[in-house]
């Protein structure tokens, strides 16, 4: 059974519904990301799980118990804020010790646990500093230590890295993953950064307009997006309308041509997608299948690769290639859509 389960959750503010009949499950020990653009409901979902707000309807089951009405301070969940939310009037030590003090742990033990945790996040020697005397990355680690030291049943992270510069972000996400695997805690991670979330998660749930469109491992989402929204989100730029012809993967395109698709997904689908880098420009003597002819509209030099926007009878294609020959706008080209790279939606 899942450790955490959201059942039919509807949530929002006043008349503004943000989450509609949301279902969501997380297994013990998993790091699950909620990914989506701003306003998709990912932060609302996280804050609801944390107990910062209550749903209008639906149930939140945690560890077999109904947590829907359990108050925030009784949940034993760690929360890492985008703003870090460190207590500015307390030292690093007191910040990290706060949760343990609330749990009435003896002072000696608090000291031991806090120092151990600060060492784990590489902040030993900083215990007497105040948050304002530290850099963004250090504050982030204090925030992590503060949430982890209470040995939370669940760790919730709300865009924890978005205030850091690019280099530090990569370093910290490895750090978060390391800590998560070291302690084996279950975590939910909210982000709008696709790369970050694919790098760190066991599973990714992509949200759109308050519903989860797909929840799978990063590689499944990357290679087999289930909806057009997700396909666009993970870099599929080209979409085709199709008519299935047989059960062997033969399809008819909108201009009556035929293409072969190897994807074993939904065979009766009428829509498919392909990434720009999976389309080849056919040259003399090259064996190729799934041919589409067209004319280059725009040619863009991208350094390592060239990008072409090609207009064909079945729509405009974006093609990204590292082939040597260069085409100009107006050139006639023949495209080959690699059969095992076309994904049915």
């Amino acid at each position: 059974m899942a450790l955490l389960e959201l059942k039919d959750i509807t949530a929002g503010y006043d008349k503004n519904v943000i989450l509609k009949d949301l279902d969501f499950q997380v297994e013990q020990g998993e790091l699950v990301s909620l990914l989506g653009s701003s306003g998709c409901g990912k932060t609302t979902t996280l804050r609801l799980i944390a107990g910062f707000s209550t749903p209008m309807s639906g149930k939140f089951i945690f560890n077999g118990k109904d947590y829907t009405q359990v108050p925030l301070n009784k949940r034993n969940f760690g929360f890492v804020f985008q703003s870090y939310a460190l207590f500015p009037h307390m030292t690093v030590f007191d910040n990290v010790a706060f949760g343990l003090k609330m749990r009435k742990m003896p002072a000696e033990q608090i000291k031991k646990e806090v120092m151990e945790m600060l060492e784990t996040v590489d902040l030993d020697g900083f215990e007497k500093r105040f948050p304002r005397e530290m850099s963004g990355g250090q504050r982030q680690r204090v925030a992590l230590a503060r949430a982890l030291v209470i040995k939370p049943d669940l760790l919730l992270l709300d865009e924890p890295l978005s205030n850091l510069d690019a280099k530090l972000r990569v370093k910290m996400r490895v750090e978060i993953r390391r800590l998560q695997q070291k302690f084996g805690f279950t975590a939910i991670y909210v982000t709008h950064d696709q790369e970050e979330c694919f790098a760190i998660s066991d599973k990714v749930a992509i949200m759109n307009h308050g519903v989860i469109e797909q929840m799978d491992s990063p590689s499944v989402i990357y290679n087999h997006p289930r909806t057009e929204f997700i396909a666009q989100f993970v870099g599929f730029e080209n979409f085709l309308d199709l008519k299935p012809l047989d059960s062997q993967g033969l399809y008819q395109t909108s201009d009556g041509g035929r293409i072969q698709i190897d994807d074993g997904g939904n065979k009766s689908s009428t829509r498919a997608c392909i990434r720009p880098e999976d389309i080849l420009i056919v040259q003399e003597g090259m064996p190729a299948v799934n041919l589409v002819t067209g004319e280059v509209m725009v040619s863009t030099f991208l350094g390592k690769r060239n990008q072409y926007n090609v207009r064909t009878a079945i729509g405009e294609f974006e093609v990204s290639t590292d082939q040597e020959s260069v085409y100009k706008a107006g050139d006639k080209v023949t495209l080959s859509l690699t059969p095992n790279k076309i994904i049915l939606l």
Partner: protein, 277 residues
């Protein structure tokens, strides 16, 4: 280039400075100087020794301090929850803030007269007390320390509330939530996070209220009696009724010194409670 220009800019503050120098600093300091002279013009602390020896002055002095401290404490106790509610929970914040500062829009004279109506022998409070049988006949609620404190509180509570709201608005809600998620109850969130972080506002508010109470003249004059004089009314009495400007100035100097001292002490205490200020 910029540095050359800034040299000219100080001319802009010159008119203000001159005005203050001639019409405030010079008269003020000449008064202060006179308090340190004897009748012959030589340096002397005689005026201050005279104050120290006067039982009447000492009575007025301690009454002023006591009433100001009581009013400050009551303003803090009343103002804190009000400010917290307005800052964190209120939906119609602008409206409530306008209501909170509304007393400041009327003159202290009018307000004091209103209190006379309310607290007088035939006022609403006495009517209620007599009718409900709590007291047999009307008690005197006016022209004593009680009515003065009531007047002070109404006069200065807005300052406390405004100072606190200013600071509380800057306390991020995430801090409350963070403390809660770490296991703190509402009471503990308040004690460990809200209260210490509100101290700068409490300090500003307390200094404003205390100095306001100590230097207020209209309210104690109208709501106090002849046997409840405070420093401000004493100064008036000395200067205007008795014509003793030197003695009045000496009292004024004492008042300024207390104000500075108390602000300093309140600041020190707050620094102890919240080292990040």
């Amino acid at each position: 280039m910029l540095e050359k220009k800034t040299k000219i800019y100080w001319l802009f503050i010159l008119p203000g400075c001159l005005f203050l120098t001639f019409f405030m600093l010079i008269p003020l300091f000449s008064l202060i100087f006179k308090t340190f002279m004897d009748e012959g013009g030589a340096f002397s602390l005689g005026n201050y020794f005279a104050l120290l020896e006067s039982t009447y002055f000492k009575q007025v002095f301690w009454r002023s301090i006591r009433l100001s401290l009581i009013s400050t404490a009551v303003c803090a106790v009343l103002g804190f929850p009000t400010a917290y509610y307005i800052s964190k929970y209120a939906k119609n914040k602008g409206m409530l803030m306008a209501l909170a500062v509304f007393p400041m829009f009327t003159s202290p004279v009018i307000r004091s007269f209103s209190w006379m109506v309310i607290l007088g022998k035939k006022g609403i409070v006495n009517d209620l007390l007599v009718q409900s049988g709590i007291v047999a006949k009307p008690i005197s609620l006016l022209y004593n320390e009680f009515s003065m404190v009531v007047g002070f509180i109404q006069l200065f509570l807005p300052l406390m509330i405004l100072s606190l709201i200013g600071i509380m608005d800057n306390i991020s809600d995430d801090l409350n939530l963070a403390a809660g998620s770490l296991g703190a109850s509402r009471m503990e969130v308040f004690r460990q996070v809200i209260l210490p972080l509100s101290i700068p506002g409490l300090v500003t508010g307390s200094v404003l209220v205390f100095t306001g109470c100590l230097t207020a003249y209209t309210t104690p004059q109208l709501l106090g009696g002849t046997d409840t004089r405070v420093l401000a009314t004493l100064i008036y009495q000395q200067a205007m009724s008795l014509g003793d400007w030197t003695q009045a100035s000496a009292v004024a100097v004492v008042m300024i010194v207390i104000t500075i001292l108390v602000s300093h002490v309140i600041n020190r205490i707050s620094r102890k409670l919240n080292p990040t200020i």
